[in-house]
């Protein structure tokens, strides 16, 4: 075993009499290999442990409510009736709003950074986007409460209602904290990751593509659209799904601006609630066992959704990496 993993150069073992006399002990090597293997295997342990712990913590609730937990919308800790539908709805809708805002902006910025921008702008802009990614969620939430929400309430929201008030999505009174504000703050949080992953994808498009388009007389935009963006479609989709995964699990900033009311309302001006925010708000308040069980079940739902979305994203991004590598070789 040790021989097969060792580099070719030590495979030839004792060549000289001196080396034959003093064979090096293999104990250190074995121990170190096993130690590092154990550490590497923690990633499997972590996933299994998380799934097991969340399941373990919510068995009673799952037994009591079963599938109804996912499709009913009463959340009443006093009567011990728990249904997660408003939270699932809130998570999906706020993430969808975030994607609608962040995907076009993120991909356009990535295209700007790799294809369209003057060279001197690129590095500073990348650095600034990395800085945006480094802002802790709670600080964006603080800014959301005291700066973004008052501004949204005074300017864009009334304007949206005047324009689109005839649709159910932008009707009703404007409170401030609401589903739309939650979606916007999530969009800000996921923009850096969508932009930087999309940028990596676009950078991996072989130059031959661009050269061919320019050779045919394409303008910069035409080359970007025909030769780069359409070529990278699948990878960009992977970036979007990765962004979706982050959006679904975003916690602090959303909790601070979404209003935290478990309801399903068509109007985006109404407060909502997400899976992650109900955990953040109510976990320490869970006074009864069933309440805690229900919250563990919420955690399980969130874990299940995000793990599936992330699996999909990683699979998409990996196939891209492989195909673009083989294409580059050809």
């Amino acid at each position: 075993m040790a021989l097969s993993t060792a580099p070719a150069i030590v495979r030839g073992e004792p060549l000289t009499a001196a080396a034959a006399m003093k064979r090096p002990s293999r104990f250190g090597d074995k121990a170190f290999e096993w130690l590092t293997l154990a550490m590497a295997l923690t990633v499997i342990v972590l996933i299994v442990l998380t799934g097991w712990q969340l399941w373990q913590g919510s068995t009673l609730a799952i037994k009591k409510f079963g599938f109804h937990f996912l499709v009913t919308s009463t959340w009443d800790p006093v009567a011990e009736q728990f249904g997660a539908l408003p939270f699932i709805y809130g998570t999906l809708v706020s993430s969808l709003i975030a994607l609608l805002i962040a995907v076009p902006l993120g991909i356009a910025t990535a295209a700007y950074l790799t294809e369209l921008a003057p060279l001197w702008i690129r590095q500073p802009l990348v650095s600034l986007i990395e800085m945006l990614a480094a802002i802790p969620s709670v600080i964006l939430g603080l800014w959301g409460i005291f700066v973004m929400i008052p501004w949204l309430r005074d300017y864009p929201f009334p304007w949206l209602r005047r324009l689109f008030g005839w649709t159910p999505f932008f009707s009703g009174s404007i409170y401030g904290p609401c589903m739309l504000a939650g979606g916007i703050i999530i969009a800000i949080m996921i923009l850096p990751i969508i932009t930087s992953v999309s940028r990596e994808i676009l950078r991996s498009v072989p130059d031959l593509q661009r050269e061919a388009a320019y050779g045919l007389g394409a303008t910069r935009w035409e080359a970007t659209r025909i030769a780069v963006l359409s070529y990278a479609k699948k990878g960009l989709f992977g970036a979007v799904i990765l962004g979706l995964g982050r959006a679904l699990g975003e916690t602090m900033a959303v909790t601070m601006v979404i209003g935290n009311t478990p309801q399903i309302a068509a109007s985006l001006f109404k407060p909502g609630y997400t899976l992650a925010s109900v955990l953040a708000n109510e976990f320490t308040e869970a006074t009864t066992d069933m309440y805690l069980q229900a919250l563990f079940a919420i955690g399980l739902v969130l874990f299940g959704i995000t793990i599936l979305v992330n699996l999909l994203a990683q699979l998409l991004l990996r196939t891209i990496a492989k195909t673009s590598a083989t294409r580059a070789v050809q």
């Binding site: 090096p24 590497a40 295997l41 923690t42 442990l49 369209l116 709670v138 600080i139 874990f303």
Partner: protein, 286 residues
Amino acid sequence: MRFERAHNHTWRKIKNALAVGIAFGSGILVITPLGLVFFYLLNNGIGSVNWDFFTKLPAPVGALGGGMANAIVGTLQLLALAGVIGIPVGVLGGVYLAEYGSARLNSFLRFLADVLNGIPSITWGVVVYGLIVLRFKGFSAYAGGLALALIMIPLILRTTEEVILLVPNGYREAALALGVSRWKTIVHIVMKTASKGIITGILLALARIGGETAPLLFTAFGNRFWNHNLSEPIAALPLQVFTYAISPYDDWHRQAWAGALVLVTGVFCVNILVRILTRGRGASVA
């Protein structure tokens, strides 16, 4: 015919200019929140960052003044606890992925680590709550540190692996040819060569978890006083910012801004340090 072609050409140029303009606008829009957050942090926070802020405990409800000394120290303690668990596990795991293992097992582990990086941080809070807080009947600094460590592990694992793979094979072969054992080669030659990159990865992970709030809500829990015992609840800067931000008191809001400014300054200092460290990396490895 000629006119049409000229017209078509102009139209294409206009379209090109429009597209570049829109893409530029998107780039500006993406970084606008960064500018705004910075402006308001400085504007609302700088006045309250003073000597008291760094040296005093939070004032009781209703009283003005006080500081976040315990939260700043608490965050450092939590980072130390998380580092004690997260750094060795992450770094050694990364070493395995880069130096040992079959291609198939490694790509599977790498894949899982990437999936783990996308799991919401609050999940780790729930898991540690079930594992530690329920079992030992109480919130504690240990629980908070563990929750943060679990976030660190996949992050450090991946960055360590990447920088170790950058070390040229010639280094390993030279050491092995001199009769140095495999593990000593890895520790003394490979990891030493990649140490700058490994430290960069660790620093980035610390900066990331230093700002985490969600996993601490029901593990570290927060504390308005000094923590003298790590099996008791402990304060953390991001937790304190959250508590103060959603409180109804103006004086607490003022302090939340100050806390946020200090936290962001810390996170950005680490990021700038990383940038300085990585500037010469390509040269040193090659």
